[in-house]
Symmetry: C2
Subunit: 252 residues, 2 copies
DNA sequence: CGTACGTTTGATCTTTCTCAATAATGGTGG
DNA sequence: CCACCATTATTGAGAAAGATCAAACGTACG
């Protein structure tokens, strides 16, 4: 869960920017030279609250976070899970007021970069601009898949699907162990991500386990039958826009 | 529904780019000078199919379209509704393969702009880059709200919410008539947008009508009680990031 | 060792879906 | 203008997935 020992927290940002194509050396250095401040925050801390006017972009150096919105009657919908290395606040870099909240799932180190510094790089360095736009578009693609997940799949499919998504995303960052991963959230949070109740999530998880698709120990998910799990979740990785080689271990 | 008589179809793109801030005159001209081709297409035509490698960005000169994905068992989820003037393919401008389809709701005129020409403007003209990123981020914000809508609201709230969203978006483009608008879709499509069945959508619409929140004539929705409709849909316009003055008529 | 939080399980209730049939509407060809 | 057809809208009855309520059980942690 700790990942590599990158002591420079912007290395994470850089790695993400280079997901789709390498940056010129000059641009890489500009990214690493961005002014920033590192904070260590506890689980549950808010990085952004809906309605905020953020002045910083935040990069998750380690740890997990999630985006959420709360409805008028108080129920919560989780909108995405940020994994170590994610830039959390690209959304807010070009919009003045945040339309959702971001909260830490685990204790984390977070790097803050002033909004203007980040904007300047994006607008003046085409390679960096391209990379940022691609990241934003992939995030939108994942959101579209989540709309499908909660809108048109039953409970079992939803859970299987989100487990597959975690598996591929974590694998692509080297945070999974080949045939399993540490689920960074409680069943209640899983419920809020899938539009279900925690009671029902529990029953579905037990069902998947009983059917031999996964096994669980504490929060660790082991996929006993990866193909069957994908089928159960109607999962195809296309929407993640990750290259095959990033997740070779799962292609077998 | 026909909108204004912009004979230059890129005027629509320009208007959208200037939603958040005016472009310098030089940039405006670059946009209008973009190479393009105009096509007239029938309702039901696909502008993009999932899996395509698009080479053009498309701008909806008039008419309506929607984004959709289809699940393994054949059910459809509508992901967003594009209204006249929307640039449909910003998503694909920087990603090589499309993760969803776009289909026309009505007969439309569509302007195609080569991907590279568009990319170049975005990456070399900061004002245009900013505008495009903002549009992309607003679209992501709407997607997040849709996740909330299908994930955490009941049928009545979902329908009321989506009606409010249409009202504000159409109003902001001058396509509504103050206290009503022409719904561009069937109840079946409304169902696919809200994760419900058409049967249930019908019952909910009748319920909203019986309670005096809306009245309907054919596809025309008239909101008899705008405030009550917003309340019923747990609707707040923040996520649309439209300025108040764009929709002054509704603020009363 | 106790407290708080997360998980598991059972029983019951509601919302929404499914299936099926009927009615309205718009468009088409004659 | 009219008869016909395809699509869309409407309504009813029964079934099912998932929610709700309630309680017991584990486990981590101060």
């Amino acid at each position: 869960m700790t990942g590599s020992q990158d002591h420079h927290p912007l290395n994470n940002l850089l790695r993400q920017l280079e997901l789709y194509s390498k940056l010129p050396e000059f641009d890489r250095q500009l990214v690493l030279d961005l002014p920033h401040r590192v904070r260590r925050l506890d689980a549950g801390s808010y990085l952004v609250r809906e309605g905020d006017k953020p002045t910083q972009c935040m990069i998750l150096a380690n740890g997990y976070a999630f985006r959420q919105k709360v409805t008028g009657d108080g129920s919560r919908q989780i909108l995405s899970v940020c994994i170590p290395g994610d830039a959390v606040d690209l959304q807010n870099m070009f919009l003045d007021v945040s339309d959702h909240s971001v909260q830490l799932l685990t204790q984390s180190r977070v790097a803050d970069v002033p909004r203007e510094a980040m904007q300047e790089l994006v607008l003046t360095r085409p390679a960096i601009g391209t990379a940022i736009i691609q990241l934003t578009l992939v995030e939108a693609s994942i959101l579209r898949e989540w709309v499908v997940n909660v809108g048109r799949r039953d409970a079992r499919e939803r859970i299987a699907h989100i487990l597959c998504e975690f598996a591929v995303r974590l694998e692509s960052r080297g945070l999974a162990d080949g045939d399993g991963f540490e689920l960074p959230m409680t069943q209640e949070q899983l419920a809020d991500a899938t539009g279900l109740t925690s009671v029902h999530v529990n029953r579905v998880l037990k069902g998947l386990e009983a059917d031999g698709l996964i096994s669980r120990k504490r929060r660790h998910i082991h996929y006993s039958n990866w193909r069957a799990l994908q089928d159960a979740g109607d999962f195809s990785r296309r929407y993640l826009h990750v290259s095959e080689q990033d997740t070779l271990a799962q292609t077998y």
